[in-house]
């Protein structure tokens, strides 16, 4: 896609994903601003006035325990969070964590900052963390998930909002945002200069939940061994550092279904890395 003769996206990239990411980033940003405007007596009529909590599917996850035991939602969580959680699960069961790779504005912002890192560090970018350490750190997000679920269930309040960089990203202009979340947002953006999606890889509790669907999702990323040139392009450019060229079917819990490894994008051989159901020959 070109505007004024200039190419908007990297050749052989999933440009439609970037468009979708922009759309959801702007949508959430506008709703967050509108929420503030409405609180101050203004607002944009055609836009939702919902709070960020009401539009976060992870809110649905953390309120499950309270909903099951008491029949109520955690404070500030509403039916909409529950519905979005179900929709995101449905999409994940079918296509993997597309919410992470295509929708989540926190992932989008990290990708944007990473563009700078890519320019500075070239091939070294996204390969700073030693492989062994990286492998262990990838499970940290499950600890974060366990902690968030425990403290929410025990307190009945959204304690994670105090630490949530996503909440800080769209509320930094309000008094609602807590200092720890701003610090975590700053650290995440800084690390994004060196590592692609550091929050998603190492700390995101919602990514941890959706990542599990990679083990059993309907549509899988598959590599056709008979036509594969083993050039490693799919692995080198995977934002989540998944060794796609070493497996037949990607079942890594970190895959975000961005499709950047497929033959539609970086793989130079047609129909060799595909996103499909039913397997390959």
């Amino acid at each position: 896609m070109k505007i004024f003769g200039k190419r908007l996206f990297r050749p052989r990239s999933i440009w439609i994903r970037k468009v979708v990411q922009w759309f959801f980033f702007l949508l959430i940003a506008l709703i967050a601003v509108n929420h503030t405007l409405v609180e101050n007596g203004g607002g944009i009529a055609f836009l939702s006035t919902a709070s960020l909590h009401a539009l976060c599917p992870f809110g649905g996850v953390v309120t499950i325990y309270q909903y099951a035991t008491v029949g109520t939602f955690v404070q500030k969580i509403h039916e909409s969070s529950f519905i979005l959680m179900i929709i995101a699960f449905l999409l994940a069961i079918l296509f993997g964590p597309v919410f992470c790779g295509w929708v989540c504005p926190m992932g989008t912002v990290q990708e944007w900052v990473s563009k700078l890192g890519q320019k500075f560090f070239r091939r070294k970018f996204n390969h700073f963390v030693p492989e062994k350490l990286d492998k262990v750190l990838r499970y940290l997000r499950y600890l974060v998930l366990a902690w968030v679920i425990y403290v929410t269930a025990a307190s009945g309040t959204l304690i994670f909002a105090e630490y949530d960089p996503y909440f800080a990203l769209f509320n930094f202009w309000t008094t609602e945002v807590a200092l720890p979340s701003l610090i975590i947002l700053g650290v995440t953006l800084l690390l994004s200069l060196f590592v692609e999606r550091p929050w998603c890889k190492y700390a995101c509790p919602y990514g941890a939940v959706l990542g599990i669907t990679n083990l059993f999702r309907v549509f899988q990323i598959r590599r056709v061994e008979s036509t594969c040139k083993n050039d490693g392009a799919c692995s080198i450019l995977c934002p989540m550092n998944i060794p796609v060229d070493a497996v037949k079917t990607v079942r890594d819990h970190q895959c975000i279904s961005c499709l950047e490894c497929t033959s539609e994008a970086v793989c130079p051989v047609a129909k060799t890395v595909v996103f499909n159901v039913g397997g390959v020959k």
């Binding site: 979708v20 007596g41 404070q75 296509f95 269930a153 309040t157 105090e162 499709l259 996103f275």
Partner: protein
């Protein structure tokens, strides 16, 4: 079957927005708490909105929608100096009158609305009003009992300053950061409509003390005190000050 990026993008949009549209049509999609007060279920006022159900999260605009009292009248009654009284949340009164010896807050608004519209309200607990509110009410048709109560519960207080808007107050509720200063701490430890038993326990009140106030075994701590009162047929307006007294003891 292979799937490429464009159909996948379309599917994401259709599933996401289709899901929202479907649940909206079904009436399931709610992004905020409903601001519709419960109605009286029996007697002369059956079907009318009950002032006892006014919650701290209501704005003066919500009060007008439920009870027909203009935000300007409420602002005058509670000395709220705001450019937009319609957006002022009832719970902000507690903060605005934090220095007052007598609590002016959500209960005061309930009392004012009930007297203003001639609706019944339980007067067994102490609820206070400003002189301005009392003056406005005296222009209405009050019963001798209401007038006596009003005389005994009118307090002279300086003007309320505009409080933080909407969600800003609860955002710091019961969080470690909010408990860092004593003034914030005392402001936080208020038994309100959405207070859970967990919060009361966290404030240092023992389970035994809670059960003594409630007169019943404590349910799951995540249950809201108000919800439990409604379930058990207890009057929240009676339980609330008793529980608050226990909280104040351990402050």
């Amino acid at each position: 079957m292979n799937l490429t990026s464009k159909p996948l993008a379309a599917i994401i949009f259709v599933v996401l927005f289709g899901g929202i549209a479907f649940t909206t049509a079904m009436g399931w999609w709610q992004t905020m708490s409903t601001k519709e007060a419960a109605t009286f279920t029996e007697g002369e006022f059956a079907g009318q909105a009950n002032p006892a159900d006014i919650r701290g999260s209501y704005t003066f605009d919500d009060v007008e929608k439920n009870f027909g009292i203009a935000p300007d009248v409420l602002a005058q009654a509670f000395k709220v100096e705001s450019n937009d009284p319609a957006a002022y949340q009832v719970k902000n009164l507690e903060e605005a009158y934090a220095d007052s010896e007598f609590e002016i807050g959500t209960a005061s608004v309930r009392l004012f609305v009930a007297f203003y519209n001639g609706l019944p309200i339980d007067l067994s607990t102490d609820m206070y009003l400003t002189e301005e509110a009392a003056a406005l009410l005296k222009e209405r048709n009050l019963t001798p009992e209401q007038l006596t109560y009003l005389e005994a519960h009118t307090v002279s207080i300086s003007a309320a300053t505009p409080a933080p808007e909407a969600d800003s107050a609860p955002a710091v509720e019961a969080t470690p950061a909010a408990e860092s200063t004593s003034s914030e701490e005392s402001a936080e430890k208020l038994v309100k409509g959405k207070t859970t038993f967990r919060e009361v326990l966290d404030w240092g009140v023992s389970q035994e003390a809670i059960e003594q106030v409630m007169g019943k075994p404590m349910p799951n701590p995540l249950t809201k005190v108000k919800d439990f009162c409604a379930e058990q047929g207890l009057d929240f307006e009676t339980i609330k000050p008793a529980l608050q007294a226990e909280v104040d003891k351990v402050k």
